[in-house]
Symmetry: C2
Subunit: 308 residues, 2 copies
Amino acid sequence: MKEFDLIALLTKGLPANDSVVVGAGDDCAVLDLGIPDQLVLFKTDAVVEGVHFTGETPPRLIGRKALARALSDVAAMAGKPVAALVTLALPQNYSTERVTHIYEGLSTCAAQFGVAIVGGETTTNPERILISISLLGTVERDKQVRRSGAKAGDAIFVTGELGGSLAGRHLDFEPRLAEGRWLADHFKIHAMMDVSDGVAGDLRHILQASQVGAELLKSAVPISRAAKLRAKRNPKPPLIAALTDGEDFELLFTVASGSAVKLFDAWKQQFPKLRLSCIGKIVPGRDIILRDRYGAQKLEAYGYDHFA
Amino acid sequence: MKEFDLIALLTKGLPANDSVVVGAGDDCAVLDLGIPDQLVLFKTDAVVEGVHFTGETPPRLIGRKALARALSDVAAMAGKPVAALVTLALPQNYSTERVTHIYEGLSTCAAQFGVAIVGGETTTNPERILISISLLGTVERDKQVRRSGAKAGDAIFVTGELGGSLAGRHLDFEPRLAEGRWLADHFKIHAMMDVSDGVAGDLRHILQASQVGAELLKSAVPISRAAKLRAKRNPKPPLIAALTDGEDFELLFTVASGSAVKLFDAWKQQFPKLRLSCIGKIVPGRDIILRDRYGAQKLEAYGYDHFA
């Protein structure tokens, strides 16, 4: 069974209560705990040795990555991260030095983004290290951005450059927290999520939640240098790498086409060093269509599936 | 390195911010997110195949245990659980049926205690199932109970019966949520925690946090039938089993001695089916002294250590 099929099976009919604003299926759960002007964001994310990092990965970067992944999800809801818990599952023969350095990476990243680390747990996982981060954040009630608000006609934007993250960027990417909040402060963002499994797969989550389709312009997709380099010794063409490689941790969002030029210009003023690309538009239907000057084709390639 | 030494090492100098009321080192972290009359409780807890359950454990009970453990920590802060996230780390060859039943156990337990399951994550852990629960709860600002408030002279109480949990109760214990809230509603509870690693070890956490010692009366310790039965084929005497076996998930708390009799009588009215025992008193010093009619001895036995 594929990961997304399993999730669909497990999240059917989960118990809810009055606090739930958004349950399973968005970047974060959204809860109303009675804070006058704010909602609470709640997220969990795990990294596993041999899957998300290796025995050779510098331990400070392991800790950084573990937290930054969850921060990226809070960014995608235009939220502000507040506090994290760290679950550390370790083999019996763990190296105290390595674990201490993992924690240093976590703490440095937390301090950088104003997040408190308020505890957690150590437990045993005999064969490999597993780190699960629980993160709480807040967002103004009128500014939360979900995946479900994309409308036909919207412009589709993505920050940064895509693909080839495995060459290094998956360990030291910047969660786009400032960018996510700036977007929600200044524009009516219809839908947003972070790109963790590749635009091709993640855009489908927005399309499904919003019941729309998308047309992407091949030449507009920002392909990273790493994806181009990797393509030289890899059968995957750079464009497909950019659309399907995992762990970009950029923001993917849609906005009414009438606001697109204004947003693009304001972005260049605000974040001159971070590329922003309009890669296409939301259309009726459910498919992702790739366009170039020769015509259009339906995109079948899927993003990264953890169980594929 | 022992688990508690590692935790002490890792939790030194963690980043904090204005939201933190209680950080690492209590049953739950406590956060002030600006809810007018309430604080937020934040907890994470994991169960691992081969450590907390086996391949033979009925899967619904695995799910139930995973959530109930975290609920027990919210109970220990006199809190009300609100919403949970489920991190499910699975081998590639997992059984869909088993995972579905684990989730059913989780959901049934969540519904029983009014908790919403608002999502989570599936990821890969090649050798064994690991389930980590993140739990949010709330508690009235004036009712949160910490580990650090025990005072010399306090009576020490424990709910239920202790020891021998491995015979079965570790899978179907009742988190003492109603009891924790009732206690905080009706009495000034000085310190409270849940007994997860055995009273001998857990009481030391209260003593350390409160900078006091304790005297326990051997004959007052409520020894479970399972601990007595197990003692017949085990070198551990029943009393030591009751004090050091893990996973009791009962409430251990202290209250001013002047309130002890009133509390005990009110408890019998309110919870006639759940035993409550006054097992001793808080004294100056740092040690745990065990008393019987022959004299006193210092308790050296420690509770369960995950890395021992």
